[in-house]
């Protein structure tokens, strides 16, 4: 694996050009640009329907400096499968437009709706078949493009337009679907969580994902100013708190010799080694309007403590799996 320095990355031209219509403070832009910086060379990208797709490709404009295709919502992994199969066949035949590329970075971008929900089947199929591509889950924890509806990736108690906080129900009733475990259970070579507050970690893991021989999965937490209800300049702060409170730990998992090897990444490993540095999840919840009803008109200590328990439990399990 070849490491990419921040300097090298800064000198590489942006492959997602400026002028796109994503919101100020959008976490997706930051992640997509950094992943493209990590590309090794020839690259083809595909996006599921969603914020990234509609905001970067409004005809006759496009922000994509790499060949890019969008076809539908639930099929980013299947589209990528076809691109990869095409490349493989052309290499085998030594004939056809893509046959001259020894490596081809095929990247599929999809949101949480396109991954946890409507795209789960296509993703599972592509992972099982072992296509050599990188799947990027841009997790802003709701259907933001259609106006903040809950998805399988929406956290417990978060308010969305289809899980409003009312007198009877305080936001989403269900817990966030453990998508990483579902993906890792497919025994793919590489999976990792990433977050815009840690750019070097993003670059390093993206390069690893692209270099993996087979399917790789990058789970990016991408805070959404509009949907999570925080000022756009606080994207990085919210992202960092997600790691500091361990609601979204940073780690990677490689599949070696028939079993998964979890490894905590340095920001999370530091917390594991110094447990007193772990911040209460309340700090993360408090700065987001989507959790307002946990604090006003009265403090919902019951709900906040059950979220804390959920975080602690999952954090302990992850530490155990990582041998920490």
């Amino acid at each position: 694996m070849s490491d990419l320095t921040l300097k090298e990355a800064a000198l590489k031209p942006d492959l997602l050009a400026s002028g796109h219509r994503l919101c100020a403070g959008c976490g997706e832009t930051i992640i997509a640009r950094m992943i493209l910086k990590a590309a090794r060379g020839p690259t083809i990208a595909t996006s599921a329907t969603g914020c990234l797709e509609v905001s970067t490709s409004i005809y006759p404009y496009t922000a994509w400096m790499v060949p890019w295709i969008h076809s539908a919502f639930e099929n980013a992994a299947a589209t990528a499968s076809g691109i990869e199969a095409a490349w493989r066949a052309m290499r085998r035949k030594q004939k056809g437009p893509l046959s001259r590329y020894e490596t081809l970075d095929i990247i599929a971008f999809a949101g949480d709706g396109g991954t946890y929900d409507i795209g789960l089947q296509a993703l599972s199929g592509a992972l099982e078949r072992g296509h050599d591509f990188t799947y990027v889950l841009l997790d802003n924890e709701a259907y933001m493009n259609t106006g903040i509806q809950r998805s399988g990736g929406t956290p417990f108690a978060a308010e969305t337009t289809t899980s409003p906080s009312g007198k009877a129900v305080p936001g989403k009733k269900e817990w966030k679907k453990p998508i990483d475990e579902i993906v890792i259970a497919h025994e793919i070579p590489y999976a990792a969580s990433i977050n815009p507050a840690y750019p070097m970690d993003v670059l390093r893991k993206s390069r690893k994902a692209l270099e993996a021989d087979g399917p790789a999965f990058l789970h990016a937490l991408v805070p959404c100013s509009r949907g999570w209800r925080f000022p756009p300049e606080k994207t990085i702060e919210v992202s960092r708190l997600a790691v500091q409170t361990c609601i979204f730990p940073l780690y990677e998992c490689r599949f070696l010799e028939g079993r998964p090897h979890y490894e905590l990444s340095s920001p999370s490993l530091a917390i594991a080694k110094k447990p007193e540095s772990k911040k209460p999840v309340e700090e993360y919840l408090r700065i987001q309007g989507r959790f307002n009803h946990l604090f006003r008109p009265e403090m919902r200590v019951d709900l906040i403590s059950s979220i804390q328990e959920w975080v602690d439990n999952r954090w302990e399990m992850l530490k155990e799996k990582s041998g920490v």
Partner: protein, 415 residues
């Protein structure tokens, strides 16, 4: 030698004759074409196609990448990815599988990707049924795909070779659906004259691309890191409509491209089909119009009726999309009575889907036949020669009365 004298025809060499059912005819033709990617999912009665093709892959007879996807939706999505990347891609399906693909059928045609798909036509659920009718393909008739309908395994084989040249024609660039009646064709062994591999390869040659003006300069319409383009962008009120009209234009051009490719194929194989296939219509008074394998039975009935002095004839519609309106009008204009066979229902519509097309074709014509509509054979119910003879008798009555009293007659159904 397979070449026949000075015309260089490869016609009836016994060594090139194979016993193939319709599905096997598809698989064998696709093996000879050897596309880059085949992405498919099993569904009766299409399954033999993917089984045979998998065997070709397993035995190293093709270099194709076979993607055994987890659904038909992903089958077509993978074909879209592959064709967008400049590959040739093939898939096959039937009934509910085609219904699951429905979303992607429109996207494939709007992206102008000349994917080829075989559909072993089967009744759409529900109730669930595995046998033949045309409800599946008729449900996709407005999806922007060229539709070729086959009467027998020979036509299936030939269509699976011609389709690539038709769809990839630089004036066309549209996906092509090849329809073969489930079980009646898909599972019925027939003699099929094949072509040698090299002849097929030369005929289909390499895929042709059209040039587009991208944001980074001119490029072929495909994903290539050397010349990046954006495919499938977000297209709003200001451009969507114009892009849809480009598809309309491509379909219109397909009406010219199909006979052109077909003539070239005929020069090679001795077999040509064009857009419609009229049989004994020149002096006919009663003509049946229809699609698919039933037209084989109908031609037998026509011959029997001719022996009895009835002036019967038939027109097989080989290409349903684009609809060959002009040829049909020219052929049927002076026929007194026409009966259109539909093997699908459009619920709540005045007629079956094919009949509505035929009637529309004649609306502006001064000379036009009386047009009756027979809906038959749903869910695989057999359409026997006697039923078709019965339809001709109905047409006789319509002729003597001078009018059509019933918009639709359902044939072969219990009261």
């Amino acid at each position: 030698m397979y070449e026949d004298g000075e015309k260089g025809l490869i016609v009836t060499d016994e060594r090139l004759m194979m016993g193939l059912n319709g599905d096997e005819a598809v698989a064998y033709a696709i093996k000879q074409v050897e596309p880059d990617v085949v992405a498919a999912y099993p569904i009766t009665p299409q399954t033999i196609i993917v089984e045979r093709f998998s065997e070709y892959v397993a035995n190293g007879l093709v270099k194709t990448d076979f993607v055994s996807v987890e659904s038909e939706h992903s089958a077509l999505s993978s074909c879209i990815g592959a064709e967008a990347a400049g590959a040739r891609a093939f898939t096959a399906t039937a009934a509910n599988g085609l219904a699951l693909m429905w979303e992607m059928t429109f996207i494939a045609s709007s992206l102008r990707l000349p994917i080829v798909m075989a559909v072993a036509n089967r009744a759409l659920s529900g109730p669930i049924n595995i046998h033949n009718d045309h409800s599946d393909a008729m449900g996709a008739r407005d999806s922007g795909w060229i539709q070729i309908w086959c009467e027998n395994s020979q036509e299936v084989y030939d269509a699976c070779i011609e389709a690539w040249r038709i769809g990839e024609h630089t004036n066309v660039q549209l996906p092509v659906m090849i329809n073969l009646d489930g079980f009646t064709l898909s599972h019925t062994m027939e003699n099929v004259f094949t072509l040698p591999d090299d002849v097929v390869k030369n005929f289909v040659r390499d895929r042709r691309f059209i040039k587009v003006k991208g944001h980074l300069g001119e490029s072929e319409l495909r994903l290539d890191p050397g010349t990046p383009i954006t495919m499938g962008p977000f297209d709003l009120q200001d451009f969507y409509f114009e892009h849809k009209l480009q598809q309309v234009e491509a379909m219109r051009r397909a009406l010219e491209a199909i006979p052109e490719v077909d003539a070239e194929y005929e020069a090679l194989s001795g077999r040509g089909y064009r857009l419609i296939h009229p049989y004994m219509v020149d002096d006919a008074e009663l003509v049946i119009v229809g699609l698919g394998s039933t037209m084989g039975t109908a031609s037998y009935v026509v011959e029997k009726l001719r022996e009895k002095g009835v002036k019967a004839g038939l027109v097989k519609i080989r290409v349903f999309r684009p609809f060959p309106k002009d040829e049909l009008v020219k052929t049927l204009r002076s026929i007194p009575v026409v009966g259109v066979l539909d093997r699908a229902i459009s619920f709540g519509a005045p007629n079956g889907p094919l009949c509505e097309e035929v009637k529309t074709a004649f609306y502006e014509e001064k000379d036009r036949p009386l047009i009756a509509n027979f809906i038959h054979g749903l869910g695989g119910r057999d359409t026997s020669p006697s039923m078709i003879e019965g339809m001709f008798h109905r047409l006789m009555k319509i002729k003597s009365r001078g009018r059509v009293d019933q918009l639709i007659e359902y044939v072969g159904v219990r009261e």
